[in-house]
Amino acid sequence: MDTAIKSVVISCLLVLLSVFAFAETTGRKKDRFVAGDADAPIKIEVFSCYQCPPCRKFYLNTIGPLIRDYAANSKIGIIYYEFPLEIHDYARDAARYGEAARSLGQNKWQQVSEALYQHLIEWRDDKSKIDSTVSEVLSKDEMDKVRKLMKDPSIEQIIDKDIAEGYRRNIRGTPTTFIDGGGKNQKFTGNLSYSVLKNYIEGLLQ
C-alpha cells in the first residue's frame, strides 16, 4: 500500500515538474521573439553570434528583409538566441547589448542588431566601439536603460540559458536556423540567401 502511495506521489510530482518546465519554456520563448509572434504560422529560430561574419551576412541580407516582408504581416515569428562563440573576443559583450536592447522592444532589438552587424568591422578589434555603435541608433534615455540593464545579472543568465539551449539542440556552428511551419521542421547551419529562403517560406505558406 505504501509503495502504491509513493508511486502516485512521485508520479504527481513528475507531472507537476513537467508542467512547470513546459510553462517556463513557453513563457521564455514568448519573450524571445524579435519579430512577429507565436501566433505566426511559421516560426524561425536562429542561434547567432554578433561577431561571426556568416551571421552578419545572414542577418543583413536574409533575416532583415524577412522581417520587413513577412514578420510585419504576422506571417512569420522570429526568435534569436544569443550564441556568442568563444573564439571571438567581444561576441559576449555585443550579446549583452543585444539582450539589453531586446527588453526595450522588438524594434529596438532590430535597430541595435542591425547596427552591430553593420559595423562589425569597426568594433571587432575595439570593444569600446560596441557602445558607440549602439548609442548611434538609440536615444540617450534608451542608452541609459541599456547600460543599466547590462549590469543586471539576469542578462548574463539569459545568455547562458541561450547557450545551454543551443548545446541541447546540438548546435555545431553559427548561424544555425530552425524553421517550423506547414507541418515541417527544418534545421540548417550556414548562410542562406533571401531568395532561396523566401521560396521555401512561400511554399510553406501555400
Partner: protein, 140 residues
C-alpha cells in the same frame, strides 16, 4: 570462373553505385535547406538556379540509383553516371582550387570539400566505368 567473377563485379558495382546515389538523393530531400546552403557555398549559381538544383538534383540521383539497381539500359546509365560524377568532381575541384571553404553537399551536413571528398567521389567513377566497359571485358 571468369564469367562468375565478371558477374560478381557487375552486381557489386551496380549495388554500390545504386546505394550511394539513392542515399545521396535521400539526404538532400530530407534537408533541402541544408543542401541549398551547400549549393550556394560553391558561389557558382544564382539563387534562382540554386532553387532548381535543390528541387531537381536529389530526384536525378535517386532516379540514377534506381536505374542502376534495376539495370535499366545499364551501359547508357553507366555512361551517364560517369559523366555526372566527372561534372560534379570538376565543380568540387574548381571550388577547392579557388580556396572557397564550401560544404561538399554530397551526403548531408557539414562535410567540407577536401582532398578526401575529392578522392572518395573520384573512386565512384571506377565501378561506373566498369559497367560501361563490361561487354568489352567479357569478349576479351
Amino acid at each position: 570462373m571468369k564469367a562468375i567473377a565478371i558477374q560478381l563485379l557487375h552486381w557489386l558495382a551496380r549495388l554500390l553505385l545504386a546505394g550511394v546515389f539513392i542515399y545521396a538523393g535521400y539526404t538532400k530531400l530530407e534537408n533541402p535547406l541544408q543542401f541549398a546552403v551547400a549549393v550556394e557555398g560553391y558561389e557558382l549559381a544564382s539563387p534562382n538556379v540554386v532553387i532548381w538544383i535543390v528541387k531537381l538534383l536529389p530526384w536525378v540521383e535517386i532516379g540514377l540509383g534506381v536505374g542502376l539497381l534495376l539495370g535499366v539500359y545499364i551501359r547508357y546509365t553507366a555512361a551517364f553516371t560517369c559523366g555526372f560524377l566527372l561534372f560534379f568532381i570538376g565543380i568540387m575541384l574548381l571550388t577547392y582550387l579557388r580556396g572557397i571553404e564550401a560544404d561538399c553537399g554530397c551526403f548531408g551536413v557539414g562535410e567540407k570539400i577536401s582532398p578526401f571528398t575529392l578522392i572518395r567521389d573520384t573512386m565512384f567513377i571506377f565501378p561506373a566505368l566498369y559497367l560501361y566497359i563490361q561487354p568489352w571485358v567479357e569478349k576479351n
